[in-house]
Symmetry: C2
Subunit: 159 residues, 2 copies
């Protein structure tokens, strides 16, 4: 049986922030990445469609970067929300993060047609600035390692 | 008039390596990123489709990462090919690179519906290992800065 994220933060983003090609539930064409808690870690599980290949049989780099990026901002939002004493789905407003920086180390070619599992470890480096260390596995093989610095979206961001 | 890359390395990759969602000319669904010389720099120019949004009006992070990534491997191949005394389209076999690491600093929200221009500066750090420093502009605004370490694709890569 395939492992899935039951309760994902992206299911609860306000509609205005649910259009991201990576993780927006309202973007018809996108990946619909979904990120939730697994103990003290965060996880995103996703099997990319065939077209997202680099060379046949392997995932292209931009897809891995996208997973690590959206997994990172989602993880930061999960963490700050929990720190504020809330859980997703309790009706309180969610914080929303943007990515300041993204680093990816490609360790092994990432195979197609298997679920990829991103596992995040969260580090608070400032109340509005969080770092997420992520490992991306294909089955039991560690294929990529990444780091995202996510910052609380400024209220002026959309202006 | 819109600026375009006239002669791109991706136009000359062997068919087996022309399927990347980011830069493969044979991938029907992908971005078809194209990278060529502009003096001593390399450039990739691309206007992402509407669906590749982060929030409405702005490009999603994975798209920027994908541009910097494919622009990086293409730039490295251009540089090594030139170092070897060749130019693209002269009938000689092209080197092909894979990404070892990718770093992106997101400096400003990247607007949709304008051509993005990635400008690369190439640094040889080893005969088989090249670093590409890239700046991504939307019109005259520097929106993201990135760095790719690209390595010559090992002959065992596909095995």
């Amino acid at each position: 049986m395939e492992e899935t994220v039951v309760k994902a933060i992206q299911d609860f983003y306000p509609d205005d922030f649910a259009w991201c090609y990576g993780c927006g539930r309202l973007n018809e064409d996108g990946h619909h990445l979904r990120t939730g808690w697994q103990g003290e870690n965060t996880v995103t599980i996703y099997t990319p469609e065939k077209k997202y290949m680099g060379i046949p049989g392997f995932i292209y780099g931009g897809m891995i970067a996208s997973i690590i990026d959206c997994h990172g901002t989602g993880s930061a939002a999960l963490a700050l929300h929990r720190k504020n004493g809330h859980e997703i789905g309790d009706g309180t407003e969610l914080p929303r993060f943007v990515t300041a920086s993204l680093n990816v180390d490609f360790l092994k070619p990432t195979p197609q047609d298997v679920p990829l599992k991103a596992i995040g470890t969260i580090e608070e480096i400032h109340p509005k600035r969080w770092k997420i260390h992520t490992e991306v596995y294909a089955n039991d093989t560690l294929c990529a390692r990444g780091e995202v610095v996510a910052v609380v979206m400024p209220s002026t961001f959309l202006k």
